[in-house]
């Protein structure tokens, strides 16, 4: 057992102490594990009153669908949301971390967060890890200076665009945008276009699938439409269900009764008698 202060909870950031052992295992011929990726189609566009973000809901682990309905639109601030593609743990961790930093910044400045603040915090973090934190993000929001939409690549480069797509289904979605996008879209036209772009990713890209999530952000108001469209419902469920004629053989049963969880209430103000 090492003498290092393993008993204190760590200060934060990454810890590299298992790297040597994992390298040794890889050299012995054992392949490293694959991580949960969000194959994904994520899109964003700017319409006349603000920003609309869209994402599919499939999470893959290699060729297997691990989660049929995951959430890829992450909260950053009341007026800023971020869609994430790439390694799922990285997108979740990086958006949670920047969301906390933005909240602390709001408390310090007393003002609403700006999209460009979130952008700079994200790109600085991703660049410093030189692309090893594999998170490709579409960041959108409406702040005091208007609606903004940015894309952030895993190595830390960013783009500012009126409409953007990322992920394995980005080409399918971009083809829809390039054909049908125009400036000054209304809310309903914008939602319809985003849903169409995500659907083209869902049906044509194998890494994206399941349902469409949409988030509409306008000045002072946001709407998170979870599962806005479900173009892939499961219709083949048998109503009878499974009946098992041969029961499983049990070798040993151990029952532990649990005591009821009792709530202790302090009775106030009963002074002791002399």
């Amino acid at each position: 057992m090492s003498q290092s202060s393993v008993d204190l909870p760590p200060k934060g950031g990454f810890s590299f102490d298992l790297c040597k052992r994992n390298d040794m295992l890889t050299q012995k011929g054992l392949k490293a594990p694959s991580f949960l990726k969000t194959g994904t189609t994520i899109v964003g566009l700017i319409f006349q009153d603000g920003v609309i973000l869209g994402a599919d809901t499939r999470a893959t682990e290699g060729p297997i669908v691990a989660d049929k309905n995951c959430e890829k639109i992450h909260y950053m601030a009341p007026n800023i949301y971020c869609c994430g593609a790439g390694t799922a743990a990285d997108t979740e961790a990086v958006t949670d971390m920047v969301s906390s930093q933005l909240r602390l910044h709001r408390y310090q400045t007393g003002r609403d967060s700006r999209v460009i603040t979130a952008l700079t915090l994200l790109k600085k973090h991703l660049f410093s890890y030189q692309g090893h934190v594999s998170a490709a993000l579409v960041l959108g929001g409406v702040d005091i200076s208007g609606p903004h939409l940015h894309t952030i690549y895993p190595h830390g480069s960013t783009d500012t665009l009126p409409f953007a797509t990322m992920g394995s289904g980005s080409l399918a979605a971009m083809s829809v945008f390039e054909a049908k996008y125009k400036e000054g879209l209304t809310r309903d036209e914008g939602i319809k276009l985003v849903a169409e772009a995500i659907c083209s990713g869902i049906f044509n890209d194998l890494g994206s699938g399941s349902n469409v999530d949409i988030c509409v952000i306008t000045k002072g108001h946001k709407e998170y439409l979870r599962n806005y469209m479900e173009p892939n419902p499961r219709t083949y469920v048998s109503s009878k269900g499974y009946t098992f004629t041969k029961k499983t053989e049990v070798l040993l049963t151990k029952i532990t009764p649990l005591s009821e969880r009792v709530k202790v209430v302090e009775v106030a103000g009963e002074a002791m008698e002399e």
Binding site: P9, P10, G13, F14, S15, F16, D17, L18, C19, K20, R21, N22, L25, T26, G29, L30, K31, A32, P33, F35, L36, A59, E61, I64, A66, D67, C70, T87, A88, A89, D90, E92, A93, H132, V133, G241, Y242, F244, K247, T248, E249, V250, L251, L252, T253, K254, I255, T256, P257, L258, E260
Partner: protein, 204 residues
């Protein structure tokens, strides 16, 4: 061969009506040789929270000891047990901390939260949480388990029916995987009791 296939494992958790079940196989192997048939993969954190860990056995045991340590500290400070959602966030943070040299295991967390509402979740080896409302699977037999659970699962099952379903799903999936099996270990937890059962399976 992948690092996860070194020891072999299968863990599954399912949600029922105000109850949950978590099950695992019992084999511990070193590649193709079996060295134990009673390996404990599912551990209790507190009366209403269980964690099953699949993957490299040494990391399974180390990670379990670390998590019990953190939970005991939490109990001392807060004078209560951790909620399952909080525990899932703790496990996710501990795994992500080792993002570039990860623990080679995949946890399956199952617990009863407030109002006895069942909670299950699984993560990959770097802490990407995957919450589900029906079932979660992990281990070398995970592909078969996905198929079996998808077919056999029904929402709102009572404890006895849930036990039967999860056992059948586990045994049929590990029968198709060389690296896991040698029986099953199932915990069915309701608000009033924990029922732990050992299943008889194929010993090959």
């Amino acid at each position: 061969m992948s690092i996860f296939e070194y020891n072999g494992s299968a863990v599954v958790a399912m949600v029922g009506k105000n109850c949950f079940a978590i099950a695992s196989d019992r084999r511990l192997g070193v590649q193709l040789q079996t060295i134990a048939t009673d390996f404990k993969r599912i551990s209790k954190i507190h009366d209403h929270l269980f964690i099953g860990l699949s993957g490299l056995a040494t990391d399974v045991q180390t990670l379990y000891q670390r998590l019990v340590f953190r939970h005991k500290l939490y109990q001392l400070r807060e004078e209560r047990d951790m909620k399952p959602e909080t525990f899932a966030s703790l496990v996710s943070a501990i795994l992500y901390e080792k993002r570039f040299g990860p623990y080679l295991c995949q946890p399956v967390i199952a617990g009863l939260g407030d109002d006895n509402k069942p909670f299950i979740c699984t993560m990959d080896s770097i802490g990407a949480k995957e919450l589900a409302k029906d079932f979660v699977v992990s281990g070398t037999a995970s592909e078969s388990l996905y198929g079996a659970c998808e077919a056999m699962f029904k929402p709102d099952m009572e404890a006895e029916e849930l036990f039967e379903t999860i056992s059948q799903a586990l045994l049929s999936s590990v029968d198709r995987d060389c690296l896991s099996g040698w029986g099953g270990h199932v915990y069915v937890v309701t608000p009033n009791e924990i029922k732990e059962r050992i299943l008889k399976g194929r010993m090959d």
